[in-house]
């Protein structure tokens, strides 16, 4: 039997950040449930979703933390950046203000995560092209200047949503393969599980001990 027992080799932690109302929770929902959540309430806190994906034949469990976008929670949500292997930074292509705030989100991300954290910029609501307030080219340039991966996506139609999450995982996986991402580092945001049978999950114990307190 080629499929073998069900196993995954890695756990990647993602965070989703960006201004209020840009569609962070909807992107998560679209990714985990393949559905659009129409009347999504504002997130007051940090939601949490998981999905298992396959990259280069490896099963990877994504653990996705979807943070509240409201400015007043900013100080608290900063606590959640630590240990993220991937950061999805979202703006709304129909609201320029959400794009203008990106540099502040980026500063937080750079300051609060480690250098190997993969940052992926998502311009959400690409289905509302008629109300566009930020051009693709402008955002693409911003992404290139700052070394970010970038797509325009739609949580409503599902366009590019899968891609954004998967490309991020591929980049993280590549970093592991290249040795750029040190799995033993406490804050890598990746847990590795050796494929040996008998131990269903061997998260390095160290990663459990590095809590903030």
């Amino acid at each position: 039997m080629t499929s073998g027992p069900y196993n995954y080799s890695y756990i990647f932690k993602y965070i989703i950040i960006g201004d209020m109302g840009v569609g962070k929770s909807c992107l998560l929902h679209q990714f985990t449930e393949k559905k659009f959540m129409a009347d999504c309430p504002h997130t007051i806190g940090v939601e949490f979703g998981t999905r298992i994906i396959e990259v280069a034949g490896q099963k990877i469990k994504l653990q996705i933390w979807d943070t509240a976008g409201q400015e007043r929670f900013r100080a608290v949500t900063r606590s959640y950046y630590r240990g993220a292997a991937g950061a999805l930074m979202v703006y709304d292509i129909t609201r320029r203000s959400t794009y203008n705030h990106l540099s502040s989100w980026l500063t937080d991300t750079r300051n609060l995560t480690n250098p190997s954290t993969v940052i992926f910029l998502i311009g959400n609501k690409s289905d509302l092209d008629g109300q566009r307030d930020v051009t693709y080219e402008e955002a693409k340039q911003f992404a290139d200047e700052n070394g970010l991966m970038f797509v325009e996506a739609s949580a409503k139609t599902g366009q590019n949503v899968e891609e954004a999450f998967l490309e991020t995982a591929k980049k993280i996986y590549q970093s592991i393969q290249d040795g750029r991402l040190d799995l033993n580092a406490a804050e890598s945001g990746v847990q590795h599980k050796p494929a040996s049978p008998g131990r269903p999950l061997a998260a390095p114990p160290a990663s459990r001990d590095n809590c903030a307190c």
């Binding site: 499929s3 756990i11 940090v46 653990q63 998260a203 903030a212």
Partner: protein, 854 residues
């Protein structure tokens, strides 16, 4: 079965030196994502060391120790913690036991029975004992119980609930998930498998201590087609004492080689497994082309002989998976002697219950847990009730029917006393026992027994058809004849493509399920506004958390990054941590109280009535609860230096001005626009001076809280009405006002100097003269007033000693922000005494010189 009997069974699971001191039935292991029911909790003692075990029982009540498996081991060491909670809705019936040991933390739900007390007492005795000894116990005896694989993993995953935000949340245990996947895949098996017929040859022979000196072709190679699988069992390979005692015999290799030599040569066979216990041996071979599809080969042996343990009787078994079908082969030699059929039934049951095949990541498998079971051997059942002569006559005529009616095994099988659920084919061959070796003649010894079909083959499984069942009388070296059977068995083969497709579907379903199982709650309010909050007035709001998910949810308010507490000092959250069952709700009270330590920070603008609490659900999301309010600033909590600058009541002072004054209080100097002492102090003192000097129990009888609050408002609003409340309330307000100033009258940094000087009045005076101006004014003003009050001690009952103790503590207040060495009580008494002594000087001596020196 009563408690003591179960306890005896549990005790058998352990060595006799490891004593079960207490145990409980009906425990549940709770986790936010799953619940394990019907567990037993036991406290086991070995020497000075104790540990808590959680056991799973395959049947309830457990009949034998083999029914029990150990799931969790928690050594009671220095790190061991035990917390007990009640279920609020039903505090009589349910108890939650939170046990933590090293890195493992478990929550158990137990039924309230009288035994719980014993258990908990025993637990605490263990904790007490371990904390008394200085060395950490080693728990060497627990090594053999160390739980690997699944349990280890679960332990790791339930462990250490994160206390900070940055940690990984607890993920659903993979092992649980894997077993779920396995079950789901099992349910859908028919959708991705097709079947193929395999032929299985089963042979059994009691060789009666003989070597293979004759060819075995007539037994193993007589069928038209070579079988796909050979399962060949022997009994009494070697009857020597050495074999029995040391379990070693050269016959094993002899007979194994003989089998390999005489199996059908038209196909190539590979050994699946070979297993032997004393004289019982089982060999399983499979055609080479099928071998790649054989997995999870495990064997086991069970002795049921002397003392119920020795291997002269018993069973040996081999299990494996072939494609997607699980197979189990058992070769057994059951108890001898004509009358002992009950003993043989018992041997069968013992082999069934004691044979265990360990599995990776799963509970061990038993014989019954297989799709197909083939059971062969010298089962030793005889013919009773018929006399030997009749039996021999009938079987010689090949008239087996009437004899078989008296076959013990047929009878016991029919009555379901043995081999229940198994099948046996039609017997159309002569009894296989007992012959004179080397002949086909019935045993001629003096015992003169009836011949019997000792050697038999049974099977169990829906898709198995027996093609032939026969004996091989030509192989005559033993007193038994070999027997064999050929089966055509359906083996389920996986269609890779379909499997993959269905597998992906199942995974997707489980992903969905996993997301659904993330704890879900509804919080009725996430923004709690306390409105206007006043000094020393407790305000309470509540929020309600409802568990809207399917499993119990444990919540806890957790710390934000780099913060020492999960909430600000003026906020109290009760409860801050709890487990809520599905569909139940929990009310959380949020209480705000601005007291003397927090008031000055509010006045100075270094703190605000604003906080965001992080409500964390174990294994799930975090919810932010915002708490805010407007603090009504008060003269309580202001610095002396600020108060002397306020010409108007504090509520008329703009907030910004107040913050500015507080920030500049060190540079405050007297000028035309400052008072020499705060007007608020003057108002209160003057009121007592005019109306209360003769009040009995002045400064000793407490005031009324409500009146103190009225006095607070009177001071803060600059009311023109007379001061409200009794003299005692005014006196208490004065004390509170002096206690709540941002800095004490005598600054913190002078405290130790004061204490050293406390016996020397002159030195004390010197210190007072050097105080910052307004502090000195307040100090001297109050001392002067208190001297006045002491003049009336006949009426107000004051004495200078009591008064100096009271005011010593106020004037020389301890710094709350200073982390002090834990003071011994005696040391604190000494310090308090020195403080009193310091102010005492100023109560009994005339210090007008200090006042006039100004």
């Amino acid at each position: 079965m009563n408690h003591e009997e179960i306890k005896t069974v549990v005790q058998e699971k352990f060595l006799s030196s490891e004593r079960v001191t207490a145990f409980l039935c009906d425990a549940k292991v709770l986790h936010p994502e799953w619940v394990k029911r019907d567990r037993l909790l036991a406290i086991v003692e070995y020497g000075d060391e104790k540990a808590v075990f959680c056991l799973f029982s395959s049947c309830y009540p457990p009949k034998s120790f083999t029914d029990l498996s150990i799931e969790i081991v928690l050594p009671i060491d220095n790190s061991f913690k035990c917390e007990i909670d009640n279920k609020p809705s039903d505090p009589e019936a349910i108890l939650y036991l939170n046990l933590q040991s090293r890195y493992n933390k478990f929550k158990f739900e137990i039924q309230m029975t009288p035994r719980v007390d014993n258990f908990v007492d025993d637990l605490f005795r263990g904790i007490e004992a371990v904390n008394k000894i200085s060395t950490q116990p080693e728990f060497v005896w627990l090594k053999k119980y160390s739980i690997k694989d699944e349990e280890d993993f679960i332990a790791e995953n339930i462990v250490l609930p994160r206390t900070g935000i940055s940690n990984m949340p607890n993920t659903a245990p993979v092992a649980i998930r894997e077993s779920l996947i396995k079950r789901k895949m099992c349910d859908k098996e028919s959708e991705y498998t097709f079947t193929k017929q395999f032929t299985v040859f089963c042979g059994t022979w009691n060789v009666n201590d003989k070597s293979p000196i004759i060819p075995l072709k007539g037994w193993l190679h007589i069928d038209k087609e070579p079988p796909d699988i050979y399962a060949v069992g022997f009994q009494e390979l070697d009857l020597s004492k050495e074999t029995f005692l040391f379990d070693q015999t050269f016959r094993e290799d002899e007979w194994y080689c003989a089998v390999l030599n005489y199996v059908d040569k038209r196909a190539k066979y590979i050994k699946v497994e070979k297993v032997r216990l004393v004289g019982m041996m089982l060999i399983v071979l499979i055609k080479e082309k099928h071998y790649p599809f054989v997995r999870n080969i495990v064997c086991d042996t069970v002795g049921t002989g002397i003392m119920g343990k020795m291997g002269n009787k018993g069973g040996v078994s081999i299990r494996f998976d072939l494609h997607n079908t699980s197979l189990c082969f058992v070769n057994s030699h059951l108890a001898a002697h004509v009358e002992e059929y009950e003993r043989r039934n018992q041997d069968f049951r013992d082999i069934c219950s004691r044979t265990r095949f360990p599995q990776v990541n799963q509970q061990p498998k038993a014989i019954k847990d297989h799709d197909q079971i083939y059971w062969l051997g010298d089962l030793n059942y005889r013919i009773t009730e018929l006399d030997p002569i009749t039996v021999k006559k009938l079987v010689n005529e090949n008239n087996f029917g009437p004899v078989l009616e008296w076959d013990q095994l047929k009878q016991q099988h029919k009555n379901k006393n043995v081999f229940a659920g198994y099948h046996e084919g039609l017997i159309a061959f002569k009894p296989t026992y007992k012959y004179d070796p080397g002949t086909d003649n019935w045993d001629s010894s003096e015992k003169h027994r009836a011949p019997a079909w000792c050697d038999r083959i049974f099977w169990k499984g829906d898709r198995v058809t027996q093609l032939d069942y026969r004996s091989h009388p030509a192989l005559n070296i033993s007193d038994h004849k070999p027997v064999s059977a050929i089966f055509s068995s359906e083996i389920k083969i996986i269609n890779e493509e379909k499997y993959r497709k269905i597998y992906e579907e199942v995974i997707k379903q489980l992903d969905k399920l996993e997301n659904e199982l993330i704890p879900q709650v509804k919080v009725d309010v996430t923004e709690v506004d306390f409105g206007t909050v006043r000094y020393l007035e407790l305000q309470v709001r509540s929020i309600t958390i409802k568990n809207t998910g399917k499993l119990p949810v444990e919540f806890e308010f957790i710390k934000k990054l780099d913060e020492a507490n999960f909430c600000k000092e003026w906020l109290i959250v009760e409860p801050y941590k709890k487990c809520i069952c599905a569909d139940e709700t929990c009310e959380i009270q949020l209480k705000v109280l601005i007291n003397k330590t927090s008031a000055c920070k509010m006045n100075a603008g270094t703190d605000q009535l604003y906080d965001i609490l992080v409500l964390h659900l174990y294994g799930g999301k975090d919810i932010f609860i915002t708490v805010n309010g407007t603090y009504q600033r008060s003269c309580f909590g202001c610095s002396i230096e600020v108060l002397v600058n306020l010409k108007m009541p504090i509520q008329e002072v703009p907030v910004g001005k107040l913050v500015e004054l507080e920030s500049k209080r060190d540079q405050c100097v007297s000028n035309q626009s400052t008072y020499s002492i705060p007007k608020e102090i003057w108002f209160l003192v003057d009121h007592i001076y005019l109306h209360g000097l003769k009040e009995p129990n002045l400064f000793e009888q407490p005031g009324l809280h409500s009146e103190v609050l009225q006095i607070r408002d009177w001071l803060d609003t600059g009311s023109i009405d007379p001061i409200p409340g009794s003299i005692h309330s005014v006196a208490e307000a004065l004390l509170l006002l002096l206690e709540s100033t941002a800095d004490p009258i005598i600054p913190y940094n002078l405290q130790s100097v004061c204490l050293r000087a406390s016996t020397n009045y002159l030195q004390c005076k010197q210190i007072i003269m050097e105080l910052p101006e307004f502090r000195k004014n307040v100090f001297l003003y109050l001392c002067e007033f208190l001297q006045e009050a002491l003049q009336h001690s006949a009426e107000n009952g004051l004495d200078s000693k009591t008064l100096s103790t009271l005011f010593g503590a106020i004037f020389l207040r301890d710094n709350p922000n200073l982390v002090q060495e834990p003071q011994s009580r005696i040391n604190k008494q000494v310090i308090d005494k020195k403080k009193a002594q310091f102010v005492y000087h100023f109560f009994i001596n005339d210090h007008s010189d200090l006042i006039f020196s100004k």
